[in-house]
Symmetry: C2
Amino acid sequence: MAYTLQSERRFPCQLCPLLRQPNYRKFGKKELEFVAGFKRGELTVDRGATVLGEGTRNPHLYTVLTGWGFRYKLLADGRRQIVNYVLLGDLIGLQGSLMGEMQHSVETLSPMILCVFERGQLMSLYREHPELGYDLTWLASREESILDEHLLSVGRRTAMERLSYLIAFLVDRARAAGIVDGSSPTLPITQTHVADTLGLSLVHTNKTIRKLADRKLLRWAERGCEVIDGDGLAQLARWEGNREWIRPFL
Amino acid sequence: MAYTLQSERRFPCQLCPLLRQPNYRKFGKKELEFVAGFKRGELTVDRGATVLGEGTRNPHLYTVLTGWGFRYKLLADGRRQIVNYVLLGDLIGLQGSLMGEMQHSVETLSPMILCVFERGQLMSLYREHPELGYDLTWLASREESILDEHLLSVGRRTAMERLSYLIAFLVDRARAAGIVDGSSPTLPITQTHVADTLGLSLVHTNKTIRKLADRKLLRWAERGCEVIDGDGLAQLARWEGNREWIRPFL
DNA sequence: CGCTTACTTGAGTCTGGTCAAACGGGGTGG
DNA sequence: CCACCCCGTTTGACCAGACTCAAGTAAGCG
């Protein structure tokens, strides 16, 4: 696992790739300057690296600039539950910054570049740029509503519905983030990740995936899920979809 | 279902019962004045009333002054998932205020008195009192970390562990809110609520409750759960407990 | 070439679901 | 005052969705 903290920047804020995404909100000049000053550097990590660990106190906050990752919690005996995924523009470590200690871990699914911020400066953000403070609450609130939906899924949907929901959800987010192309986007996850997200065993997850593959709603590739019919999946899960037009980020 | 919006106030902010709770943070004088100005009135609702409905746009935000309630989501065919409970000092409707439309509903478990705020004035809160804005993010972030734990529970714990966790969790929150007394506090929930929280059927929930009752960890009363050994329950669930010292509120 | 990771598949088991019925308490209309 | 009903709880019988165990294949890598 290689961690690289760069002082020279591949993505100075003024050229931040997030600014070019159509459904990511724009910054005012002053805000952009403030955020640029807030930024401490960039962190590059390999696939499979742990960005933040449960129980730790990390002095940093991160925004995802490229790549995929996931948040999870463990029980003492190793049972794992993935609670959500992180991608372009998502903020990592806010919960730890506010409550002191991380209550979950974050691991990458692909190589990832992160924008690094200083925890300690958070309060000055609220003081000097109330709109950015509002945006942070917005992000936390959005996470909350995603978790509500996941909980509904794991608690009350059948295995088939859960799987359909998850894949539809992920492809929806990837589309909103503008990081997938064309008609059959591919998600960089393994069946083990799917199982640990849905609260199912690996074997049963595999059998459920086969059924959806037989129905031509998706195809399973090496280390990834190729989504053939996202709408069909959403429908099967009775899921309304994320209706999200413009989102903030830091 | 009776809804009563009172203009005369039983709880003027200066005498807010929340100010007397030891683990609820104190307000500065200016903040208190601001919040008092932010307050629009009080709402009194019966047990079983719906405070906020999924899909609606309510111009208000609420803080719980007395009583218990729960947040839930429904699937089209009526399957219900309770995602969390609300009690003293919890903010209801923030998600809807930020994202426009409520993505979940809130129903009461007991008569409830709520403090009513105006959605539209939220931004001025961030501008005039950055610390309060920070506190809102804190609250959203805490909700997020509770949901993470619930997800872990529903996804990866066994029926017995889930039940133990839920009861330990609720009694912990009630204690932190200072709304339960003595050694065997009683939670105002039915077995149907428990089932819909844990993602189990009512029948199986009942059988699991019987087992814990046989082990003398709890006793089931009329419409409620009397908790005999909260620590034993937490241990059985392998749950660490909420370590929360001081919390904010509005 | 051997090792590891990811995916598959079959067989047998078990946790938890469904169906059905019954009980007790509280409220209500006759 | 009583009969009835509804709600919440309880229990038994049976069923099934999901789990565990086990084994095997294919691809990628040092």
